[in-house]
Symmetry: C2
Subunit: 151 residues, 2 copies
DNA sequence: CAATATTTTCAGTAATTATTGAAATATATG
DNA sequence: CATATATTTCAATAATTACTGAAAATATTG
């Protein structure tokens, strides 16, 4: 792998890092995104990223669990191959949107906690709740439209 | 502060942690969200969260920088007070949406890197780029509608 | 401008999280 | 079913990130 590509993978890793996810997750997804052919074995991933087998195993498992990567096996071959799952980025977004519900619920729990305290004290939590209620209502349509146009 | 509230703040902290942000950020924002009156001095924050002054200073700075919290001073008082900025959650979302541009650019950079390689190899990056182009186009309208209805 | 109160900075430390590598487990082949 | 190959698990370690606390800087009062 040439230097430009390694640098690109590091960028991919950092992008995921900013997100609070392990860099290795981004690096592995990055390799798969630029692979030609578009699939790689665990061994190839380990070699290209100078990472341990264990780390690749853990990372591919996470990526599969997150719905971003597919594992494939071929008849007559022992090793498995990994490839980016079509719709991976949509899936990332879909999961983020699911997380909105957690924010709304946290706001609601806070309002219960405050009870009938001074309305001033409740205002921030009410705004938070209303905001996430709004987004939970709006997001599905945007996601669905993408799926209809492209999925 | 009673136990139920401390537990709630810890929850707030964990919610931010999932996001890849320091828990302390969530805890401090949490205190301010449930404060009555809705503002607190650095000293009060440090005491309520059993955290160091330095940590509170760093955290309030971050929260202000992120556009989530306001610093206020009062005439005749030396200490500053902090309160949740109205529209804080909208601001969080707005920043996330800005980050979409970085994803699109990363995809574009990858496509440059691949050049005219096998279309199969380019497919994942093209899908990534198209996806983020779509979201960059769609999100602003949703954000603006909230502002119009509520801001 | 001296005295006091408050905030910030930052080096050191603590806590957390990511990664390795070797052993254990699983899977495919002849 | 023995052998070879591939993958997973997990304890140990490395790397990173968060937090403290004391010293320095800043701001306010009389």
């Amino acid at each position: 792998m040439d230097e430009a590509r390694l640098k690109y993978l590091e960028e991919f890793g950092l992008m995921f890092g900013q997100f609070g996810l392990p860099r290795m997750l981004g690096r592995v997804l990055g390799v798969l995104m630029i692979s030609d052919p578009p699939e790689r074995s665990a061994e190839e991933l380990a070699e290209e990223l100078a990472a341990s087998r264990g780390s690749i195993s853990q990372t591919t498992r996470s990526l599969i669990q997150m719905g971003l990567v597919q594992r494939r096996s071929k008849p007559g071959e022992r090793r498995d191959y990994f490839r980016v799952k079509p719709g991976a980025w949509h899936e990332i977004m879909r999961r983020e949107m699911e997380a909105l519900g957690a924010f709304r619920k946290t706001a609601e729990r806070g309002l219960e906690l405050l009870g009938s305290e001074d309305p001033d004290a409740r205002r921030s939590l009410e705004e938070m709740r209303d905001f996430y209620v709004y987004w939970e209502r709006e997001m599905p349509a945007v996601l669905e439209r993408w799926e209809k146009e492209r999925g």
